[in-house]
Symmetry: C2
Subunit: 404 residues, 2 copies
């Protein structure tokens, strides 16, 4: 009774999802379950609830208009609050008419894949990249991601690398419809600067490629880092993806945002948002959050905690001889475990992952889950609750100290 | 930059949506806007908020687990509460494993269209039917609805009519993958009985057709009416669609439910729910609502008000010489305005609609928006707030009294 297309995309659970639920069934708790798993694998900021909860609790009233139909791409008041919030970041006034609200950044990405690509078209993505992208853009919408492979140890993005990947994909007969960039970058922790962004837009315009700028970690910046947001450029052919999962620690609320100045694309996004509409109850609460006078203080606290935790984690890893890239933004670190592999292969990387998972009962994510072109790199999310973070770090550093 | 497929489904706004927002911009209010539109066109029960709100307000706590990732096809606790609630209706124990939660019944229907049909396949639907079905199943998933045309004045569904439509569709080369039934039926107000349901399942099994039973109005029953739910039959190849929009008056919460005993289908639905996940905040609140000891009293009040309003409306229409079908369930009535048409054509039906809209400033929905095979029938939602309902009914009966 299942359609041919559904049989094609009946998926194996994505790696990160499987690891997440394996940890969730037997989670470390200092008192209740001291031998449980520490999950450094799921990218969530779990250091925010005590500060975000009071801002949410002020805005939980149940009002009659919220019980009834509203615009399904987001209520006007919510889109206005989002537009004001994003305008401050953009440095220009964004219209609420360019905004589409839908169920999570994953929903937004799937909608974009339908809107921009036909089945068999490709979207370029600098690799390593967040592996959920394959799922979000490909599962049902049928678009393939084509990696722009970046070289270790810096994994620096350049327009040359993008152009090379475009040529490769076109040689294989694929239509290259979009380039998906992500800044702050997951898993690398890089933040793109203005000049790189400008070069990317110029290249994309020449090649008629739409740029999808996933800026889901836009507020999660380390001290002194300036994020060049794609929202700033009113002439670029770009979609900006944002949401509440990361900077606000509200993954469970499943609220994603799309902004573009391309009104044809916005129309398609707002039409399909019909199937991905967000509960008015949650729209009401998040409107209140965005307009709460304490929002700036919340974001400052978020960044202060992020920075403190990052420095402590980086120091502990360095002291134990675990190299890692410098983080400019986001909540994950990219660890260089190449010299702990028994051989430089993805099989050995997987074996190391399994060994850490079973003997340390710690989940960190292997680079192969991110299409990393070279084996031996791992992603660690450093924003777990304090007790779990300390315990996991102790287990990891103990293990790797023993290796040397 | 837009894909071919998106260009194909860039839609005109569906008729009912357009009429809804036309009314929303200039809505009747007894004090503030006595000349505004009365919207009998949107199918919402607006007689419930005072009773449902207290049950929601008891369950609005913001808790830490709800901020984080959970199962994206619905949290376990929510699916358990739904399973208990639906089990009472089914008369058998339903497993939470068979349940998928997603953004509204529209989201569920779109997911089903992807899961059951390939582009160009057809789903049968007894007509007149809710016109949103064309949009939900067709817009992005590309499935066509094939009407099972029913004859006035009773519009009685039979397996013969279904078989006739199946043959017609197959003669045109369409694969008939599913039959979409709706009981209580919108717009007719019929409730299907056990024997009809049994005959439908037997026919569908013989023809390898999946039955989609949209039971979104399942609790909205008039006195003495028994609803034969498709949940009751554990051997049927059936999907049951439910949600909180109608029986609870919570369209703005956008929560739809799918239940099936077909585990292959459930797997596909739960996979794609990833893109249609409901905010944990709203899942928490609705879990509380379903488990609240006052829920049965709320449903009794809902039915008592529904019945009182229906009787008053039916009496007023009858006294003014406006014929209408007897309602067994749901919140809409099917009016027979055939003898008010200047000629028996859909153009004249449309002209009558426009005249009522502009001169009475009342929106009722013409049968052509429901694929009604005969012109002159209109749908009226009778569960508007009291003041608007009285005003709209006065305007309508005044107009038609003047016609005779």
């Amino acid at each position: 009774m299942i359609s041919e297309r559904a049989l094609r995309w009946r998926r194996h659970d994505p790696f990160l999802v499987k690891a997440h639920f394996a940890c969730a069934r037997d989670t470390f708790d200092a008192i209740g379950n001291p031998g449980g798993y520490v999950n450094f694998g799921t990218a969530e900021n779990q250091m925010l609830f005590d500060r975000v909860a009071p801002l949410l609790r002020r805005h939980t009233e149940i009002r009659e208009p919220d019980a009834h139909y509203n615009e399904l791409h987001g209520a006007r008041a919510f889109r206005e609050a989002i537009a004001r919030f994003l305008s401050r970041r953009a440095g220009r006034t964004l219209s609420p008419d360019g905004i589409t609200v839908a169920t999570g950044a994953s929903g937004i990405l799937e909608m974009l894949s339908f809107a921009l690509c036909d089945p068999g078209d490709a979207i370029l993505a600098p690799a390593p990249y967040y592996s959920g992208f394959d799922h979000d853009l490909g599962l049902r919408a049928g678009t393939a991601l084509w990696p722009v492979s970046l070289a270790s140890p810096g994994f620096t993005l350049s327009v040359d690398a993008i152009a090379h990947a475009t040529d490769e994909a076109r040689t294989r007969g694929l239509g290259v419809r979009a380039l998906l960039i992500n800044s702050p970058q997951n898993p690398l922790g890089q933040v793109y600067g203005t000049s790189l962004l400008r070069e990317i837009f110029a290249y994309a315009a020449r090649e008629h490629i739409h740029v999808i700028a996933d800026e889901i970690y836009a507020e999660s910046l380390l001290p002194g880092v300036t994020h060049a947001t794609a929202l700033a450029d009113e002439n670029a052919e770009v979609s900006v993806v944002y949401g509440f999962a990361k900077d606000f620690g509200l993954s469970g609320f499943k609220v994603g945002i799309h902004y573009s100045d391309n009104s044809d694309l916005v129309k398609v996004m707002q039409d399909t948002a019909y199937f991905h509409a967000v509960s008015m109850q949650t729209q009401r609460t998040l409107t209140g959050l965005l307009e709460d006078p304490e929002l700036p203080a919340f974001l400052d606290t978020m960044r202060a905690r992020l920075s403190g935790r990052y420095v402590a984690t980086a120091d502990a890893l360095s002291e134990s001889g675990i190299p890692h890239l410098r983080v400019e933004g986001g909540i994950v670190m990219w660890l260089d475990l190449r010299h702990f592999l028994t051989a430089p292969s993805f099989e050995c990387e997987r074996a190391l992952y399994e060994a850490i998972f079973s003997s340390c009962r710690v989940s960190i994510s292997p680079g192969q889950a991110f299409h990393c072109p070279e084996p031996g790199w791992f992603r660690l999310c450093f924003t777990m609750p304090q007790a779990a973070h300390s315990e996991g770090l102790r287990r990891l550093t103990d293990r790797f100290s023993g290796c040397r």
